[in-house]
Each structure stands twice: as structure tokens, then as C-alpha cells.
Amino acid sequence: MTKVIVHSLYMTQRNLMNLLRQPAWIFISLVQPVVWLLLYGQLFRRIVEIPGFGAGSYIDFLTPGVVVMTALFSAGWSGMSIMDDIRRGVVDRFLVAPTNRGSVIWGRLIEFSLTAVVQSTIIIVLGFIIGAQFPGGFPGLLVLVVAAILLGVGIGALSNAIAILSRREETMVAASNFVLLPLTFLSSVFMSQALMPDWMQAIARYNPVNWAVVSGREALTANPDWGVVWPRMLALVGFVMLCGWLAVRAFRMYQRSI
């Protein structure tokens, strides 16, 4: 039991070091949210004036959205890295050693939670600097960050499962492009749910991205309706468990295919 924890932490450390040694990755993952916050923040500034939007300032509305979106995108592409490890034989080297099998996947999931925490914190601070207000205070921010972690871990696990099963970069690129942007636009990341067409609202109800945005945003209001927050957070936990199970299954299938 302790072996799975210790080995998972070794793997996490190794994965994080790998990320930190890729300046392009750091640059992109820092600059992208800034661009989104500033660009969309300016572009859609007056969107809140539409009757029924339901928010006073767009930057207040957008910041939790960008937090969630960033977690989604960085996790969505994470499968690339395990694919690289498989291709280079790194995974096989772990497998011929007495490495705990699960730790190869758990190490990834811990890595996603940690990167989600760091990225969320940076975006929240940035949002604060450009004038976003978070009436929900610390508990609200905590809910937002946890929602981002859950979404990141779930999507990251899914991305790893697809990467392990397909082992083709083309498939990964296609799957990520096909899934990530629609998931974003079929949620209230940029646009109030009340103003979406009915069919979009119907889909958004089952969209994990929307669960994360809605519960984070609700928790940040002055008087949160926790009845909105908890069911969605619980649904996110279920999503993480399902995707985590898929990733572990995919890895077992890989082991049997060697």
C-alpha cells in the first residue's frame, strides 16, 4: 500500500520536472490564460448589458470561466506526454522494474491536480489585478480551484486513456480539437447559460466543464446557493472516478498488448 503512494510521488516528481524543463509549455500555459482574460474580457465587456445575463461585471464572470478552461485545455493535451513515454520505451523501462503498476497512472493524475492548482492560482491573482471581484471570498475560491482540479484530473485521465489506446498523435490532435473547444462553448465559460439556445442549455447540463464553471461561479457569489454547487461537485467526483477507471483499464490493455 505504501509502495503505490511512494512510487506515485516519484512519478509525479519526474513528470513535473519534465514539464518545468519545457520552456515552451510554461510560456504557453502562462500566456494563454492572460490572452483569454484580457482579450475576451475586453471583447465581450458589454455582454453583461444584455438583459437577463445575470452578472454585473464581465471580468467577474469570466475569471472563473478561464480558470476552468485552462484546466480543461492543459489536461486535454496531457495524453501527448504519456504517448511520448511509451514511444521512447520509458514506460516499458518502468514495467521491467518492480514499479508499482498503478503509479504510472496515479503519478499523472497527481501531476494534473498540482498543475491545476498552480494555474488556477495564477489566473485568480491576474483576474484580481485587472479588477475581478470575488464576493464569495476564500471558500468560494477554494470551491473553484477544487472544481478545476477535478475537471483537470478527469479530462487528463481521459486524454491519457485515449493516448494509450490509440498511440497515434494524429488521433490525439483530432480528438482534442474535436472535444475541447465544443466542450468550452457548450458551457457557460464565456456566455451566461440563461442566454444560450435551449438545445445548448440541454447539452450543457451534462457537460462536466459546465459543472465546474457553474459551481465555481456560484460559490463565488455573495450568497451562494449551495444546492447548485454540491450536486455538480459530486457529479465531477463521479466523472473523475469514471475517467480514472478508464485510464487504468487502458494501461492494463497496453501491458497485455506488449
Binding site: N18, G89, V90, L95, V96, A97, I258
Partner: protein, 322 residues
Amino acid sequence: MDSAIEARTLVKTYKGGVRALDGVSLSAASGTVFGLLGPNGAGKSTIVKILTTLSRPDSGEAWVAGINVVRDPGKVRRVIGVVAQNSGLDVNATGRENLILQGRLYGMRGPAMRRRADELLERLGVADAANRIVRTYSGGMKRKLDVAVGLMQKPKVLFLDEPTTGLDPEARVDMWAEVSRLAGQEGLTILLTTHYLEEADHLAQRLAIVDKGRVVAEGTPDELKGELRGDTITMLLEERSLDGLVHRILKNMPSVREVAVEDKTVRARADVGASALPIMLAALEAEGVRVASVTVSRPSLDDVYLRYAGRAFSEADQELKK
């Protein structure tokens, strides 16, 4: 049982019906270098994958250091070191970090682990690059670090899968020297796969020739060569022989055996090459076959391969690359 590696009738079929192994048996004594020689795709890597617990055989059994690889894979992993064909180094980490992570996965820790890492970096001559990112290493340096990583946990059995493939001649000679040094140290058994005949000849005490998923011959390099009596005669024709003409002419000569014709190359064996050669040349000339060049040599592993696999090594290698 004094064999460090023992395999009995291993069979492995991959999805899509490719039969990678078709009943492979072999046995390597403790403290020796055992060579697996064969062209690309012969099944060498599959044998290594099964012996290193990466892959399960469809049938057959195997033991490494006396431990059954199918029933007790966890225990096998504790006593082996693997230098895979597909390196497996973490290219975004430094050389030392690669060794440290390897040590940790085997439960090593603290100053003892660091000392072991330093010792290996020193011994394999990559100490100067220890704190550099592996991505910046040359091919030869990467391969040395691969070996260091495989040795980190002090294995009893070391698997070297094509350790010199892709290396330049200088790095290859370096690697050979390293393998020779390792051989027999602390009772270390090495299983070496290679598709270089001279490498197997040079490094392995015993070897098995693998072709199309089967072991076609096994013995010491000298034994294998000794089974071939006499000299090898190799002729290069000026043009391709038509309709097996050359084959027919030479086959009927009493002093000539094992005639094989491929394209413009003719190979044959004779008890005394120097006396058989003039007769062969005369017979060919009488039929109008023009010979461009001739060599007479003592048997090599190439000849051994030709004899057991029924085709020249280089030809088998090319065939599989297609």
C-alpha cells in the same frame, strides 16, 4: 539448476496472427555472456520481452535466476537489469536523475544510492555529462547511460537488446569493451541480442541463432563454426546465372558442397579450398560463365547462419526490412 536463463518451448503469437516465437528453447549458464543472433524481426526482442516479464508467452515456460517469469514476475524484476533496444531514458532529465529514479524504483535510497549512481557514471565514462539533460547526449553516450541505468540495482542477469545498433564504429568498439568488462563480474549473466555476426562472435561464450521465431542452432561460436568442415568459397559472377546453370555445374563436383547461388553471388564449401578452386573455375569457364572475383575463407558465423537458416544473413535482414 546452474543456468541463469532457461526457456522451454516458448510460443508467442501477436494480434493479427503474427507468430513471433514458434517454440524457442534455450539455456544460459550463470556468469556467462549468451548471445541471441538473428536478423531483424527474427523474434529476439520477443524473447527478451518474455524473459523480462514485459510480455507473457502463449505457452512454454521460462526461468530467470531460477525464478519462473510467468508465475513470479515480481521476483524476476528484482534480479534483472534491462537495456532495451528502445532506450527508455527520460530525455528531459539529467543522466544522474535517470539513475536516481531507477534506484528509487528498486527501493534504494540515501547516500548509498547516490554513491552507486556516481560510481556507474564514472565507470561508463559519462560522469562529465552527469548533470546535463539527456536530450543533449550523443548516441554513444545515451547507450552508455542506458547500460548504467540497467546496472543501477546490481542485477544478477543483464539483458542487452541490440546494444550497438545505430552506434558509430567507435562507440561500438567502446560498447564491446564495456560488455567484455562486465562479463563474469560478480557472477553477472548477460543475455545479448544482436544482428551483427561479428558482435556475437566477439562477445558471446555461447549463442543461439534465431530465425523466424525458432532457434536454428545453439553452441559456442567455435562449435558452430567447427560443424562446417573446410573452407568457404565465395565467387562474384559478372552476370546473373540463368536457370540455375551455375548451381547445376557446381553441384555435381565431388569436392564441392553446399552450393548456394543468390543473384551474382555464389557460395560453396570445399574441404581444401585451394585445390577445389581451379577445378571449379575451369568447369564454369567451359560453360561460358565468367567470374569477376573469388575469395576463399575459413568458416564464419555468416556461413553458419547460411547453413541453418538456409539463406544468407544479409539477405534475411533485407527481407524483413521490406
